[in-house]
Structure formats: structure tokens, C-alpha cells
Symmetry: C2
Subunit: 388 residues, 2 copies
């Protein structure tokens, strides 16, 4: 059986196994990144024209592209609708970017930690993944400069606002600093912003692409975290030099994004109704975060350190006494608790032991305390086993 | 600007330009492959559960996978629901297959002519495209054996039922012959069946994958030609050795196919309502085909040869006096007529001059005669210019 070389790089199914195990109703899961079921808005379809059933344009629905460009301009991103490509969820942006840039051995630059599925698809295409350490307010700029001086990465991939997994939001100074370095070295920025709207303090965080003077860029977002993930509607906005290539790669990937989802997204984007929904969503998730923080203090204050997330869906724990958290999974699942080990979020997992990513949005609050209590016990047992 | 090597292989946008030009309302277009607008069924959404808005499984909706497996078994394809992967239109199957098999220089085997977008994506990934000539009843089996004796292609890609562009339907004997050769040489079959249900004579055409004894296979279909292309819901069914890889590649491409489209497809597949709709669709397209055939006789009988298509959406014309039909495009569009030149459907276009693909499903019958008359005049002028 002769598969492509890339198939040998398809990652083991650890994550799939965790998420599959977490489906069992008795499992208290902190593993996924699912929006809360109760907060999925009720949507109407009765007014959708029959023509949405026909083939559409690879670029996406013209009215939706206009609406997305207007929203991006309001954030400070200088763009026209002609730079907007509707994609089948922002995961597809990563696939298109990988195709645009990555040959076997191509160097790219990532934050450490970074979004697991991005790491996986970049590695699938054969990228050599360099990384920059993430601090509480964004990447270490000294290290970033050093990487850029020593390497010519094809692009840098960043999630500056409520990063998955670390929940870090870059400061204004770090945003400016990153933009200046990318302009200086002429390195393309891929800025991934799924969590921007899920902010609990409303503080400003203008996109980095809006601060660039020279470097090429791709900005990507989605309606999955604000409206309905099941629609699979995301978008990218690209500098004009990149757009035509991305469009042709999109066409060859799946012709175009489903039009029913695009039509539904258009009913919401830029409307008062969406602003109201987002406001409810933030209140709801802020409440869940606060409950989670209290329970964490009860069960993990001796075991781990963490920052209070100001947005997004995750707590990122750093164990005071590090161990490979992947070794805790089996015991956790045996106790009907699921979590996401931190190691796979790093390009070099074995040198980054001792983090846990815990989702706070999806767990039933009635089971939260019991879940964290059991997880803390699993961690303690693991540490005792390691010390023995 | 350092893009991947594959970007240099992104094809020129000839086809995009044709289709864009064909959008002008005054253009009589035979270029696309669009279902007739009038035949898009009215669909209902009122009963869709809110949960369809949540993230779903990469495999697809369980009930839809069951329904698709049952349909495939009824066609003779031996499979379980566990072998069914719901994809974002069957175009995505080609993307996943390319990722699974193709490194730069990997040999693959295609019919000549073959589906243009398949050729493009396989070449994008760097495939070396070998081809087998297509006869009126399927591929030349002597040539197929010769290719298999001289090469070790990673797979063969075939569209055995109402092929795009040639409208060829393989005979039973050719289907058996192809299956026997693939088993003998152990070559994987990718069988693409978008047009199977659009049959005008109802003759049998059991899938080739159902005749295989040993070879691995991927069978792919879509609801785009039977229900609504705008849903972007297709599927693949794979032999168990291939399925886990395809699933992981699907997950990295776009997590999962949109669930609203999947839910809608499930409301139709296997129902009396879909059978009634397909029956109407066949009658409608058969009528359009007959009208097209009559108009072709009026305007093209001295210029070209063709077979009457027994299904699908296209007539495939072979000019009696060959010329590069790409050179006719400009004049055709200047006369407000669009068509698809045949050359790009071949891996070696310059050695396969003189075919035209004409779509008969989408043109307004009131403009058909005028359109073909103008197109015939463009061909005559081109031939006169060439002779001069």
C-alpha cells in the first residue's frame, strides 16, 4: 500500500479518543471546546430563497462578504469585500494556508503553546515548526526577534485574543511590537481570531494585521463561537497579493462553502439581534468562568497555577510539580473525568510537560465541583506515583 | 514571496473566466454544469432540531451514514455505515484522496478525457497523470492493461456512469474487465458517481467497486445533482483499510461537514419523496436533452460527431475538422455564447484538440437554438481562419 509521505505524519488519534470517551453521558468533560448547548440561538429558515440551493461562487455570497468586510473595517482592519473569502469554518483557512506555503521542510513560526489542530495540519504538510514562548501578555519579543534573525519562516501563526489553549490576550504593546518585527523582516502573519467576541472585560484588542505596514497577512474568523458551529461558516480576509491564490485553493478544496449556512450567518452579522445575543453569551460564559474559578480554588490551589481568563473558553493550568499529563488520561477517564493534556499543544511536547487545558463553557455546573475534585485526585495520585 | 512549490502548479483561471463571463444575463451559456433552477426542490427547515447548530462528528451524522450505506448496499456496494464519511461535496473526496496518495511525482491513472477539477487538484499535489483512452463503452482495456504492466499508479480515478465531460457510461463487460484488472494488479479504485441517478433509459450500471475482490477502493457521490448543490453535502465510502486515514484528513481539512445540510439531506435520502423528485428530474432533463439533440442536428451535423447521452448533463462534441477550441472562446463570448473547450479535460491538452463540452440542462430552451446557431458560426469562422 503506497500512501503519500504525509500520511506517515498523520498524528495518532489521542485527541479523538479523548473526545470520543468524553461523549459517554456519565463523563464530566473539560476536554472539548464546545459552546454551551443552552446558548445556541434559535434560528429561522422560512425566508431563505430557493436559490440558496444552487451552486454558488467560490468567493462566498457577495452580501456576506460585504458584511464581513464592514465588520473587519470597524475593528481597524483595512479591507474591501474583494479580500474576503468565505470558508467552511476557520479550520479550512489553516488547510488553505498550509497548501499555499508549506512544502516538506518549510520553516514556519508558531506560539508555544498553540492551537493543536493548526499544529497538526502544518505538520501534516511537512512544516518544520519553530516556536516562540508565550508570556502572560503575548510572545517574548526578544525571542521572536532572535527567531526572525536566524530563520526565514514562510509565515507566523498567532492567536492573539484569548488564545486556545492558554487564554492569553496580547497587550497593546506586544501587538505593536509583533507588527513592527513582522514588517521589519517581511514575514507573513496569519492571525486567527475565533474567540475575539467572547470577552468578559470588553478591553480593547485591535487586530495585529491592522498595525502592519508592509507584511502580507491573512486574518481569519468564524461564526462557530458566536452563532452556530454546525453551520461551518468561517471567513478569511487576505492582503491582495495572497487572495487570488487562496481563492483557487478554496475552489479546488470544496468548490464553495455551503450557502444555507452563509445565508443564515448573513441574517445575524452586524445586526442588533447578534449584539444582544453576544451580550447574553458573554454574561453566561462569565458566570461559568467565575464558577469554575471558585471550584479551581477549592481543588487545585495547591496543585497548579493559572491566570483568570478574560475571554474564550479555557483555563490553562500549570502544575507546580510537573509531570506528563498524558499519563493521567487513563486514570481520569476511569474516574469519568475528561481533560485535555497540555503537551500536544507544543511543537516539542516532551519538553513541555505539566499543563492542562480545561474547558469551562460546556460542563453542567451541578457536576463541576465533583469533576474537578476527581481530577485533582487523579493528579495527586499521578504525582505520588511519579515520586515513588 | 516564498510560496509552496504546489502554488506554481495552480492552473490558470481560464475556466473561472469562462464561468464568470457566462454570468452576464445576455450570455447563452453551455459552459457550466448547473442543475436547472426550476428543478431545485422546495425544502422545509421547520423541524430541524436546534442541536444541529452544535459541533458534530467528523464522520458525519450517524443517521445519514446509515442511510447512505443502505442506499449503497442496494446498488451492490458491500459496506457498513462505519465506512461512510460525509464530505463537503464530493469535490472534497478528491482533496482527501490527493492528500492520502499524492507526493510530487506520484503516478496516478485517469481516463482521457476526465473531470477537469479532478485533474487540477491531482496536478496541484504534484501527480504525474497517466491516462487511458476512453471509448464509447468505457476505457480501452488493452491500453489499461499496458499501463498497469508498465507502471505502479497509486490509484485509478474513474467516472463510469455518464462521465463528465464525455457522457460515456461503461458497459457491463467493461466494468467487469476494469475490476478484474485492478484486482490483478492491486491498484486502488476511486469511483466518482455524481450523475448515476440522472439516467434517461434506466439501464443497469452496477458500481465497479462492487465487483472488486481484492483491490482497495473509494466510492464517492453527492446530493448536488439530485437535491441541492448549495447544501455542499457529499459522501465517500471506502474500503476499511483506507477509512481511518481519510477520516483524519477530513478532520484536519474542516472538522466536519455542515450539519444543517446533512440534516436536510437525511430528510430525503431513501424516501418516496426523493424517488418522485428524481423521476421528475429525469423527465425534465430527458426533455432538455431531446431538444438539445434536435438543435444540434440543425446546426452541428456537418461540423461535429457526438453520441446521444443516456444520462448526466453534457453533450461531448468531436469536431470533424479539429482545431484548438480554446481559440474559439473569445469570439464565442463576443457573440454572447459560452461553452467549455475540450482540451483542458485531458492531461495532455495540446495533443487532444477539437472537442467541446456542452451543458444541456441549464440553458433556457427559448434561447437554445440561437445559442447553438451562433456557436456553430464561431466554429466555422475558426475553421476558415485556420484553413486560410
Amino acid at each position: 500500500m503506497a500512501f503519500s509521505e504525509r500520511v506517515a505524519r498523520l498524528k495518532s488519534s489521542l485527541i479523538r479518543e479523548i473526545l470520543a470517551a468524553a461523549q459517554r453521558p456519565e463523563v464530566m468533560s473539560f476536554a472539548g471546546g464546545l459552546p454551551a448547548e443552552a446558548m445556541l440561538p434559535k434560528v429561522e429558515w422560512a425566508d431563505m430563497p430557493v436559490s440558496m440551493g444552487q451552486y454558488g461562487m467560490s468567493e462566498g455570497e457577495p452580501a456576506l462578504r460585504e458584511a464581513l468586510a464592514a465588520e473587519a473595517r470597524a475593528l481597524g482592519v483595512p479591507c474591501e469585500a474583494s479580500q474576503v473569502l468565505v470558508v467552511s469554518g476557520s479550520q479550512q483557512t489553516l488547510d488553505l494556508a498550509a497548501k499555499l506555503y508549506i512544502d516538506q521542510g518549510t520553516e514556519i513560526l508558531l506560539e508555544a503553546p498553540t492551537y493543536l489542530a493548526a499544529l497538526q495540519i502544518f505538520q501534516l504538510f511537512g512544516a518544520d515548526c519553530l516556536s516562540v514562548p508565550l508570556e502572560a501578555d503575548g510572545p517574548d519579543l526578544v525571542e521572536l526577534r532572535a527567531r526572525l534573525e536566524q530563520h526565514r519562516p514562510a509565515f507566523i501563526y498567532l492567536i492573539p485574543t484569548f488564545q486556545n489553549p492558554s487564554a492569553v490576550r496580547y497587550s497593546e504593546a506586544k501587538r505593536d511590537g509583533v507588527a513592527a518585527l513582522l514588517d521589519e523582516f517581511g514575514v507573513t502573519l496569519i492571525e486567527d481570531e475565533p474567540y475575539r467576541e467572547l470577552t468578559f472585560d470588553g478591553a480593547s484588542a485591535t487586530p495585529i494585521v491592522s498595525r502592519l505596514q508592509r507584511a502580507s497577512w491573512i486574518y481569519t474568523g468564524t461564526v462557530s463561537k458566536t452563532l452556530l458551529p454546525g453551520l461551518r461558516v468561517g471567513y478569511l480576509i487576505a492582503s491582495p497579493d495572497l487572495f487570488p491564490h487562496l481563492l483557487r485553493l478554496k475552489q479546488s478544496a470544496d468548490l464553495h462553502t455551503n450557502r444555507v449556512g452563509q445565508w443564515q450567518a448573513l441574517q445575524w452579522i452586524g445586526t442588533e439581534r447578534l449584539r444582544d445575543h453576544l451580550s447574553e453569551l458573554r454574561d453566561f460564559y462569565r458566570g461559568r468562568r467565575d464558577g469554575f474559578q471558585a471550584a479551581l480554588h477549592r481543588h487545585f490551589s495547591e496543585l497548579a497555577d493559572w491566570e483568570l481568563p478574560q475571554g474564550g473558553l479555557f483555563f490553562w493550568l500549570t502544575l507546580k510539580q510537573p509531570l506528563d499529563t498524558r499519563t493521567l488520561l487513563k486514570a481520569a477517564l476511569a474516574n469519568d473525568v475528561a481533560f485535555m493534556p497540555g503537551e500536544p499543544f507544543f511543537p516539542d511536547p516532551d519538553r513541555n510537560l505539566g499543563h492542562l487545558r480545561l474547558n469551562f463553557s460546556h460542563i453542567d455546573p451541578a457536576r463541576l465541583d465533583e469533576g474537578l475534585k476527581r481530577l485533582a485526585a487523579v493528579v495527586r495520585e499521578g504525582q505520588a506515583r511519579q515520586a515513588a
